[in-house]
Amino acid sequence: MTFMSPADPPTVEDNGPIYDWSWFPRGMAKILSIPALILLSAFIGFGGLAREVGLPLEQVMFMVPLVWALPSHLLLVGGIVTGLPWPFIALTVMLAAIRMMPMVMALVPEIRAPRTKPWHLFAVSNMVAITPWVHTLAVASEIPRRGRLPYFMGFAATMMLATTSVAALVHQLAATFPPVLMAALYFLTPIYFTMATWKTTRVLAEKLALGLGFALGPLFALVVPQANILVAGFLGGAIAYGVHRWQKSRAV
């Protein structure tokens, strides 16, 4: 008998290839899903916005997959339009993108295979954004360990390609949308983010964290307008986790 650790019982996975790449195309296929279609619609809006403010095509196609976070895209374009110097834009982007750190930390233990190297995780972390994150967290337990990272990559890479194409296409067609349609497309981003994140919550505390973040964010904008996302996120998360600990201590 071989030794079996509780975290990774199937020791047979320690032999053979590190990853099972047959899961890559299965991740790609998820481009035909409701969340993917909603995100693509949001990027129709982004392509239109980029066109409206006069960003050239090649810059749009550069920033969509490289930055790969719609709030960061919107803050960047907003900053360029306002004529802000890059350190100012970088600061707001930085505050809004802190979420990427705990997101990556939550995803890595789910998708790493027994022999995943640290550099694999650094490389793959660049593909982490709400849509592939939510979807992969939701289905990871149904995928064998060695297939999870390829599955994530297949889905994320396809989404990157598709969103870049959609934004570029809208930009090239020079489609001009009526303001109400632009507003509707713009509105998709936050409501989709909220709904998608709700799907990843596993314990009550995480649902509470979502409510607290949503309520405290605008509230703290009145007190600390530059750091409200940061404060709301960490304070809301801390309160929710405190409730989680309290629940556990009562259960024992």
Binding site: A90, M100, P102, A232
Partner: protein
């Protein structure tokens, strides 16, 4: 320092990298570095997921309460109301995203037509 500071083909790309790529991806790298060998069943991860969830919600609220562009022309109660009702629809329909999106968008567009 500014988007149009240098009249060269490469400056806008450098600008994009400095203003948006590095400040976004540095957090991804930090996450990949910090996670180390933490076990997927670790209690730390519950705390991490709580913070991640609250941060995403705070970013979403930011785009609803302090929008730029065409959405800013809608009154705040309309934006907030459409978002909240859309989300409640999503939850009560057993997480039907299409239903949530359609209800939220319908309220927004109805408010536009009524104005």
């Amino acid at each position: 320092m500014f988007y149009d500071s240098f009249d060269t083909w490469w400056w806008p790309f450098v600008f994009i990298m400095l203003a948006a790529w590095l400040p976004t991806s540095m957090w991804r790298w930090a996450g990949a570095w910090l996670i180390g060998d933490i076990d997927e069943h670790s209690e730390v991860l519950v705390a991490v997921r709580c913070v991640a969830t609250a941060l995403v919600a705070a970013v979403a609220a930011q785009f609803i309460f302090f929008p730029t562009g065409a959405l800013a022309d809608f009154a705040m109660p309309v934006r907030a109301g459409a978002a909240v009702v859309g989300f409640v629809t999503y939850v009560v329909t057993k997480q039907n995203m299409i239903a949530g999106v359609l209800v939220g968008e319908a309220i927004l567009i109805a408010a536009y037509l009524a104005a």
